[in-house]
Symmetry: C2
Subunit: 313 residues, 2 copies
């Protein structure tokens, strides 16, 4: 395996010059740079990451912290972040919920250059502390002072509710998310506001974990309200609802409209069911973009980005 000395020798320059030429600092004469680059290409030179890290004091690794991998909301975020990290020459490492133990987090902080924090529910103070150790971007949640990228589902849920009301639904149920969820607070407020304006009667159920089983469990409560449309916090809850409704002989969407994500609705061939369409990969990509900007010093911490979320159907 050729190293920088080999490249330098072939190009007839010193290691220092070779390094500069390959990093494109612009401090070398153009023809020298060409010579070095050609030599590197000919030898198949690949820089040693560890050596570069050691010299530069940067690891080239980003950690994405997620509460669990079992929720299909998080995985596209990871995929998107991973794709962007690769483009930026960074490695992404997935830390599942390592935040509960401060020690584990401290250790991790020393191994990476920055964090993507997906913490829908933790306390603000703790989440903030994660950003103190290394540059961090908060995903799908906002806290003052931290850079964040969120899918603006609150607005989308409001729009959705308004549309359901406009289609004639006078009684609507919102099945809330997990206890303490930041997004749930936003969505609840938006849904209530939209229902009030449209003159629809809204029942808020929950809190309810974002799981399939919880969706099954909440079904009886939903039916009791006599509502004709239900808006669940998460797709998993919606799936549980749909399944349980099937076993109870409730016909969807005739008897009850369940607004889950468009792909589910499409697969089931349900018609005229409006639903919000969150692009998780885009969320991950954007978050990584902003983290890179932070690392490069091109951005100051605190920037808050909201991605619009379309309502389909």
């Amino acid at each position: 395996m050729p190293d920088l000395s080999d490249v330098a020798a072939v190009a007839g320059v010193s290691k220092a010059t070779a390094s500069r030429a390959l990093n494109g600092n612009g401090l070398v004469a153009p023809e020298t740079a060409v010579r070095v680059i050609a030599a590197a290409a000919r030898l198949g030179y690949v820089p040693n990451r560890a050596a570069r890290e050691l010299a530069r004091g940067r690891t080239g690794i980003i950690a994405i912290v997620v509460p669990t991998l079992d929720n299909t909301f998080f995985t596209p975020i990871i995929a998107g972040a991973q794709a962007r990290a690769e483009q930026a020459g960074l490695q992404l490492t997935v830390a599942v919920h390592a935040l509960d133990s401060a020690g584990a987090f401290e250790r991790l902080a020393r191994q990476v250059d920055g964090f993507l924090v997906v913490a829908p529910r933790g306390s603000d103070t703790f989440v903030v502390s994660t950003g103190a150790a290394k540059p961090a971007v908060l995903v799908d949640r906002e806290i003052d002072g931290m850079t964040s990228v969120v899918a603006d589902t609150a607005t989308a849920f409001g729009t959705l509710t308004a549309r359901l009301a406009a289609e004639g639904h006078e009684r609507i149920v919102y099945v809330g998310g997990p206890e303490g969820s930041w997004q749930d607070r936003q969505r609840t407020a938006a849904v209530q506001d939209a229902a009030r304006r449209a003159g629809a009667e809204l029942t808020v159920l929950g809190p309810c974990p974002a799981t399939f089983a919880a969706g099954v469990g909440v079904t009886a409560g939903v039916l009791e309200t006599g509502a004709t449309a239900v808006v669940p916090y998460a797709t998993s809850i919606g799936l549980g609802l749909l399944l349980a409704l099937g076993t109870r002989g409730v016909e969807v969407p005739r008897d009850l409209v369940v607004s889950t994500e468009p792909t589910v609705i499409e697969a089931l061939g349900l018609e005229h069911t409006p639903a919000i369409d969150v692009d998780g990969e885009e969320l991950g990509r954007t978050a990584m973009d902003h983290l890179v900007r932070l690392l490069d010093g091109r951005d100051e911490p605190g920037r808050q980005v909201r991605l619009p979320v379309p309502v389909r159907g």
Copy 2:
């Protein structure tokens, strides 16, 4: 930030001794080791990964290659592997499907010490080539010469089929998995064999991608067979089936038994529905264990491990 010299100074030993003490080589006097470790703890010393990598010529990073994160079968594997990696002092990086481009794979191979390869469908020759560059463990698939860890779902599917037949189901449908799936070949053979022995009539449908939508799509075909029990390749297919059956007024399990995973069955309150219970995390943990053994030279490549899969319900 304290470094090894600081620890050595506090403990009153040289850097060399400090390094040995902290790595537990057993080459230092016990009381010296205790002193060094105490000093490290007091200073909050964390070794610099890059420096260690550079000196050792190892990166301390393992890549797990998965085709997608959207399939809930893979995510527990990742979680399990991650947990074990952490215990072993390794970092895990998730590479989504980076295998299609050989260039990307080559680049990745230089950044990591080894691979966990989850490739349910790729061609054998390509999968083998991944193991050539760096030590690798194949997950949930077997190829001669490569170390592998698989959940023995084939046997479990056979047992399941036999049990269904024993419970009086004379017509059973197996909904096969994606085209080219290694596990699907094993399961199909096992299911066919079990049905033949039990004298049950078996229809094999598919191939069918492991998605929710595919489960919905295959429902009509399942009903056409007049079967009273259906065994889907994947949970996602089973969920799609259950949903579609609900909208068609087919009562589960009275009219048709759908054998999905136990957690789903339990959540829905279905009784007497046998199902296989794959422990994905265990699969991930075991695979990582064996990779570590390969890296340490404690194992030769080629070992094939099969984890038993229980049938519940």
